[in-house]
C-alpha cells in the first residue's frame, strides 16, 4: 500500500507540474510547474531504491541490507541540472521583464506583432556592434 501511495504521489506531482507549465501564462509560474515536474522524477528514481529495513550504503561487516545508492547519485546530478535550468530560466524571465515590462505570456505576444517597435532598452543591451544599419542598431 505504501509503495502504491508513493507511486500515486509521484504521478500526481508529475501531472500537476506539467499542467501548470501548460495552463499558466505567467512565466514564473511556468517555471514553478517545470520544477515540480522535474522533482517528481527525483521521486521516481529514489523511491524504488529504498530497501525496507535497510541502512544507508555503508561498507561495514555490521550491515548487510542497505539501500541502492545509485539512484541517489543519479538524482544528485539531476538536481544540479534542475537548479541550473531553473536559474537560467529565471535569468531569462528577468531579461524578458526588462525588455517587455511584463512576464505575462499573452501580453508579450501582443507586444511583438510583426511591426512591433524595438524597445530602446533591449537594443542597447543586445545589439551587435556589427549591425550598423540594422533596425536594432537604429533605435539604439
Amino acid at each position: 500500500m505504501i509503495a502504491h501511495f508513493s507511486q500515486i504521489a509521484t504521478v500526481f506531482l508529475m501531472v500537476a507540474g506539467l499542467y501548470v507549465v501548460i495552463a499558466r501564462g505567467n512565466l514564473i509560474k511556468k517555471l514553478i510547474g517545470l520544477s515540480l515536474f522535474q522533482t517528481s522524477v527525483y521521486l521516481l528514481y529514489i523511491l524504488p531504491g529504498k530497501v525496507l529495513g535497510g541502512t544507508a550504503p555503508i561498507l561495514d561487516a555490521g550491515y548487510s541490507v542497505y539501500a541502492n545508492p545509485l539512484p541517489h547519485v543519479l538524482i544528485l546530478t539531476a538536481i544540479v541540472v534542475g537548479i541550473a535550468t531553473l536559474a537560467l530560466g529565471l535569468t531569462l524571465v528577468v531579461r524578458i521583464k526588462e525588455a517587455y515590462g511584463t512576464i505575462e505570456e499573452d501580453e508579450i505576444f501582443a507586444k511583438d506583432g510583426p511591426r512591433a517597435k524595438v524597445d530602446p532598452k533591449v537594443s542597447k543591451a543586445s545589439v551587435s556592434p556589427l549591425n550598423k544599419t540594422g533596425r536594432g542598431g537604429k533605435s539604439a
Binding site: G89, L92, R95, D112, V122, T133
Partner: protein, 490 residues
C-alpha cells in the same frame, strides 16, 4: 598511448576550451581558444573514425571502471559518423564565428557557450550510458538556450525561454523513460540493457519507457507536432549559433532516437509490435509537407530555412521509420548532407545580415549582384535542399526513394518527390529575389562578405556539390552506420 584515450579527449578538448575561454575574458583570445579546441576535436573525431574503421567497435572505460559500475564510452560505425560530422561542422563554425559576434563584454561568453554546446553534443554521441546521455543532453541544451538568448532581437529572449520550457520537458521525459528502463533492467549501460531486456517477460513497462523516450527525444529533434520551438529559436539566435544548432543539435537528437529505436528497443520482440514504424512514417510525411509549405510564406530568410529544416528532418526520420538498410542509409546520409547544406545556407544568411543588417527577403532584392559568392553559396544550398541532381541532397533522397521501394511502399517514393516540389517553391522564391530583381538600397550598399566568413561557407557549399557528384565516402559511412544499427536489431 594517447590513441586509447581518444573517446574522452574528444569531449575534453571543447570542455576545457570552454573553461579557458571563460577565464580569458577577452574576445580574440576566447576565439583563438575556441578555434584550437574545435580543431583538436575535429582531428580527434577523424582519428576516431579511422580507428573504428580499422578495429571495429571501441569501448572506453572512463576512469578504468568497468561498465555497470563505471560509465562506458562506446563508439561504433554510427557514433563515429556523427562525431566526425559534429567535429568538422564545429570547426568550420568557429572560423565563421570570428565576425558574427556581439557586444565586446559578451564575446568570451559566447565562445564559451559554443564550446560547451559542442562538448555536450559530442558527449551524447559517444556515451554508452543512458543517464550520462541525459547529462550531456542538458549540457548542450543549457548552452543552447544561452546562445539563443544572446540574439540581438528581444524576441530572442522569448524564443530562448520557450525552448527552455519545451527542451526541459523533453529531457525530463527522456529521464523518466530511462528511469523505467533502469527499474526493469537494473542497469543504465545501453549494452547491458539490451542483454537483459531479452529476459523481460512483461513488455508493458517497456512500452511506457519507449513512449517517454521517443516523445522526449522527439521534442529535442523537433519531430513534426513537437516542433513549435524551432523556427523562432533559429531565427533569433546569433548567426553563428544558428549555424551550429541547425547543423548539429537536431542531428544528435536524431542519432539518440535511432540508438534507442534500433539498438535498445529493437532487441525486444514484443516492443516491435507497437506500431511505431507506421506512426513515425505518418509524422515524417506530415513534417515533409506542412512546415515546408509554411516555409513558402515566410519573409525572413532565416525563418524560411528554419521551416525547411523541419521538413528535412522529416526525410531523416522517414529513413529511420523505413528501417531497411537502404532507407536507413538514406536517412543517415541525409542527416549528414543536410547538416552541411544547412550550415552553408545559415552561414550565407549570416554574412548577408552582417553586411546589410536584415534577413527580410523583400529588402534583399538583387543582393546577388553585390555579394555574388555569398548568394552563390545560398543558391547551392537551396538547390541541395530541393534535391537537384549534382547536389548531395539528390543522392540521399535517391536512397530514400530506393528504400521506400524496397519496403514495398511505392506511394511513399511519389510523396518524397512531391514534397521536394514544395522546396522548389521556397528556394525558387529566394533565388528569384536575390539574383533577378533590381538591387534594392540594402543590396547596393552591401559589399562581399569578408574572407573568414566566405571560407567556411564556400567549403560547405563546395562539399555539398562534391558529395552530389561523388557520394562514395559519406554513403559508405552511412551504410556502415545503418548496418551497425540494424545488425543489433536482428
Amino acid at each position: 598511448m594517447i590513441a586509447t584515450h581518444l573517446p574522452v579527449l574528444l569531449i575534453l578538448a571543447p570542455l576545457l576550451g570552454a573553461v579557458l575561454a571563460a577565464l580569458s575574458r577577452n574576445g580574440f583570445a576566447a576565439w583563438l581558444i575556441a578555434l584550437v579546441a574545435s580543431a583538436l576535436t575535429a582531428t580527434f573525431s577523424l582519428a576516431l573514425l579511422w580507428r573504428v574503421q580499422a578495429e571495429g567497435v571501441i569501448s572506453y572505460r572512463l576512469g578504468g571502471w568497468a561498465p555497470e559500475l563505471g560509465i562506458e564510452y562506446r563508439i561504433d560505425a554510427v557514433n563515429a559518423f556523427i562525431v566526425v560530422l559534429i567535429g568538422i561542422v564545429a570547426f568550420l563554425t568557429m572560423i565563421f564565428a570570428r565576425r558574427s559576434v556581439l557586444a565586446p563584454e559578451r564575446i568570451a561568453w559566447f565562445y564559451t557557450m559554443m564550446l560547451l554546446c559542442v562538448a555536450g553534443l559530442l558527449g551524447i554521441s559517444v556515451t554508452g550510458d543512458a543517464f550520462n546521455a541525459f547529462v550531456f543532453l542538458e549540457i548542450s541544451s543549457l548552452s543552447t538556450y544561452t546562445l539563443i538568448a544572446l540574439g540581438r532581437d528581444r524576441r530572442a529572449l522569448v524564443a530562448a525561454y520557450q525552448y527552455l520550457i519545451v527542451g526541459t520537458i523533453g529531457a525530463t521525459f527522456y529521464v523518466i523513460g530511462v528511469g523505467l528502463l533502469y527499474l526493469i533492467t537494473g542497469t543504465l549501460n545501453l549494452g547491458l540493457i539490451v542483454e537483459r531486456l531479452g529476459a523481460i517477460e512483461s513488455s508493458r513497462a517497456l512500452i511506457v519507457a519507449e513512449a517517454f523516450i521517443v516523445v522526449g527525444i522527439g521534442l529535442k529533434l523537433a519531430l513534426f507536432p513537437l516542433h513549435a520551438w524551432l523556427p523562432n529559436a533559429y531565427a533569433y539566435a546569433p548567426s553563428s549559433a544558428a549555424v551550429l544548432l541547425a547543423s548539429t543539435a537536431t542531428k544528435v537528437a536524431i542519432y539518440l532516437l535511432a540508438r534507442f529505436l534500433f539498438t535498445v528497443f529493437g532487441g525486444h520482440v514484443d516492443v516491435g509490435q507497437v506500431p511505431l514504424g507506421s506512426i513515425l512514417i505518418g509524422l515524417s510525411l506530415a513534417a515533409m509537407f506542412i512546415p515546408s509549405a509554411a516555409a513558402v510564406f515566410q519573409n525572413d530568410i532565416k525563418r524560411v530555412l528554419a521551416f525547411s529544416s523541419l521538413g528535412q528532418i522529416g526525410y531523416i526520420t522517414l529513413g529511420l521509420a523505413l528501417a531497411n538498410p537502404t532507407g536507413l542509409t538514406g536517412g543517415l546520409l541525409h542527416l549528414f548532407n543536410h547538416a552541411l547544406m544547412k550550415g552553408a545556407a545559415f552561414m550565407a544568411i549570416g554574412a548577408i545580415v552582417l553586411r546589410t543588417g536584415t534577413a527580410k527577403l523583400d529588402e534583399l532584392s538583387g543582393i546577388g549582384r553585390t555579394m555574388p559568392w555569398t548568394a552563390g553559396a545560398l543558391t547551392v544550398a537551396g538547390l541541395a535542399l530541393i534535391g537537384v541532381p549534382g547536389t548531395s541532397g539528390f543522392v540521399s533522397k535517391y536512397y530514400l526513394i530506393l528504400g521506400s521501394m524496397e519496403a514495398g511502399l511505392g506511394w511513399l517514393a511519389i510523396l518524397i518527390v512531391a514534397s521536394s516540389l514544395i522546396a522548389v517553391l521556397y528556394v525558387g522564391r529566394i533565388v528569384e529575389v536575390i539574383w533577378f530583381r533590381e538591387p534594392a538600397l540594402a543590396a547596393r550598399e552591401a559589399s562581399e562578405a569578408p574572407g573568414e566568413l566566405l571560407l567556411p561557407m564556400l567549403i560547405l557549399a563546395g562539399v555539398t556539390i562534391y558529395f552530389g557528384l561523388d557520394a562514395e565516402w559519406p554513403a559508405g559511412l552511412a551504410s556502415a552506420a545503418a548496418q551497425a544499427l540494424l545488425g543489433v536489431a536482428r
